[in-house]
């Protein structure tokens, strides 16, 4: 196999990985802090994509327009996160996990159909911002600039996310909430506000990744349930609630998917599911997670 071909596969895997990381990080954050698995995270991602497309229709398709659209979409989804958490989710914290799971599943159903109703079933697409429209030659291959942008953006967000969580006052509070919610409350912190904030931020990240995916993938109904399973796998591989676990989980997922095609043509999907099952069998808490 030609090295340039392998390089291409590698870069492809990395792009997938960084997208997944953007999505899965929010999912992992909510699980880590609130112990809730949010099926609707994929729906937030899908809404981000549709909203970005919508804003692009209203503004000039320039680079500035694209960034504006992405930001608006992310903020809009974040706001939706606040509403959902305050109106519904709160009353479910004390309930059994099954009910929390089903609530987020109800959101999947409702948001999915709402998107279908508003934007129809046709594939929609957004073109990359002009600045990032071209491609560059690397190791005898053509790599789209937009992919490179995502490959750089992923680690950047990982780094700033880590920084925010570990080096800021707010991050400290979030980590404290994760360790002992009741104690933090008794020290005077309004943990409910922290929960709302986390849920909204997680929705914001999902919305942002949805907006950013639009130049390379078309927007279709069903993109929500497809992505959520992948994001689960990433989070489970890395260890639920572990920040770096999610990052490396994404990288492993991307590469297994990318090279799995070469080894088992047609079975790349199978290879990632099998990978997840094997990891869970050997280390049920994931690569970077903590024993139960």
């Amino acid at each position: 196999m030609a090295p340039s071909f392998l390089f291409s596969q590698f870069m492809g895997g990395l792009t997938t990985a960084m997208f997944l990381f953007l999505i899965a990080s929010g999912l992992s954050l909510v699980f880590g802090v609130m112990r809730v698995i949010n099926f609707a995270h994929g729906s937030f991602y899908m809404l981000g994509a549709y909203l970005a497309w919508q804003v692009m229709r209203w503004v000039h398709p320039s680079s500035g327009g694209f960034w504006l659209a992405a930001l608006t979409a992310a903020l809009g989804v974040g706001l939706l996160g606040v509403v959902i958490e305050r109106l519904f989710f709160r009353s479910l914290y004390g309930r059994e996990e099954l009910y929390q799971l089903l609530f987020t599943y109800a959101l999947v159903l409702i948001l999915g159909d709402a998107a279908k109703y508003i934007w129809g079933v046709d594939q929609l697409s957004v073109s990359a911002p002009p600045v990032l429209a071209g491609s560059v030659r690397m190791f005898g291959t053509q790599q789209p600039l937009y992919s490179l942008f995502i490959i750089v953006l992923g680690p950047l967000i990982a780094f700033f996310g880590w920084l925010g969580l570990n080096r800021t006052g707010v991050g400290r509070m979030v980590r404290a909430a994760q360790m002992d919610r009741e104690m933090l409350d008794a020290l005077g912190a309004n943990v409910r506000t922290i929960y709302t904030g986390m849920f909204a931020f997680s929705a914001f990240l999902a919305g942002l990744s949805g907006a950013l995916v639009t130049p390379i993938e078309s927007i279709v109904p069903g993109m929500d349930v497809l992505i959520i399973v992948q994001a689960f796998i990433v989070v489970v591989i890395g260890g639920m609630g572990s920040f770096w676990g999610t990052f490396w989980g994404s990288v492993i997922y991307g590469q297994v998917l990318s090279f799995g095609i070469l080894i088992l043509p047609g079975f790349s999907l199978f290879s990632v599911f099998a990978l997840m099952a094997v990891i869970l069998i050997v280390r049920p808490w994931g690569l970077f997670g903590r024993p139960l």
């Binding site: 006052g169 400290r172 509070m173 980590r175 404290a176 360790m179 002992d180 009741e182 104690m183 933090l184 409350d185 008794a186 020290l187 005077g188 912190a189 309004n190 943990v191």
Partner: protein, 235 residues
């Protein structure tokens, strides 16, 4: 003497299991009051009921004249009641300094207790400031728990079993430090089963038995009367 904290006839339960059967107590500003009794008699439950971590099924908790029964814990904390739990409950993966910072940020009550002031009281914590709290010894964790609560500048400190499971030498040190807090005028409600520890600190005691108040009076009475002490608390 107007009470800073006035607990009026509270009943509390965990689910169906009733733990408190009408507990009343009051604390004036500057006092150090001790709840004495063996484990399982309801000391912790009393403190949790004051703190809002458990809603009493009846009765009232009055703080500076305002009814705070059933308030969320963070509101109680911000009103000036600091809580030091029995099982320490430091944030194990945060460093000592981070634990303190969380304490300060959570309560939003600026005042004389800063990191420097806290390190003055517990010098050992200063040397350990960048160590993860989970790696501290039991005594160090206990000091950190108190220090973390002090960062919120409480007017009343609820101390639940501070001497529990600690080596005698550490207990002595802790006794001096809590004594220092008392000397500085902090109001303290202490729950203890160690008679020696509590009598060394307290002005007044309440003796609990099976969720009811068995005895109340000045600490000196118990200190000076071994017979009374035996009768109330003996083996």
């Amino acid at each position: 003497m107007t009470a800073l904290l006035d607990v009026q006839n509270i009943h509390s339960a965990y689910g169906l299991s009733r733990v408190l059967f009408g507990i009343s107590l009051d604390i004036a500003a500057g006092e150090c009051v001790c709840l004495l009794g063996r484990n399982g008699v309801g000391k912790t439950t009393t403190i949790r009921s004051v703190m809002g971590l458990l809603r009493p099924t009846s009765g009232r908790v009055v703080w500076k004249g305002a009814d705070i029964t059933g308030w969320a814990p963070h509101r109680v904390a911000r009103a000036g009641i600091g809580f030091v739990p029995e099982d320490r409950r430091i944030f194990p993966e945060l460093t000592v300094a981070e634990n303190l910072a969380v304490g300060a940020r959570a309560a939003h009550r600026p005042g004389r207790w800063t990191s420097e002031a806290v390190f003055g009281l517990f010098p050992v914590l200063q040397q350990l400031r960048d160590r993860r709290a989970g790696f501290l010894s039991g005594g160090e964790q206990q000091m950190l728990t108190i220090a973390r609560t002090l960062m919120g500048n409480p007017e009343l400190l609820l101390l639940d079993e501070p001497s529990e499971g600690l080596a005698p030498l550490v207990v002595e040190a802790l006794l001096t430090q809590i004594g220092e807090l008392k000397r500085q005028g902090l109001t303290i409600l202490l729950a203890e089963q160690g008679v020696g520890f509590s009598l060394a600190l307290a002005d007044r005691v309440y003796v609990l038995e099976k969720g009811e108040m068995r005895h109340t009076g000045p600490a000196a009475e118990l200190r000076d009367d071994p017979e009374l002490r035996e009768r109330l608390l003996a083996l």
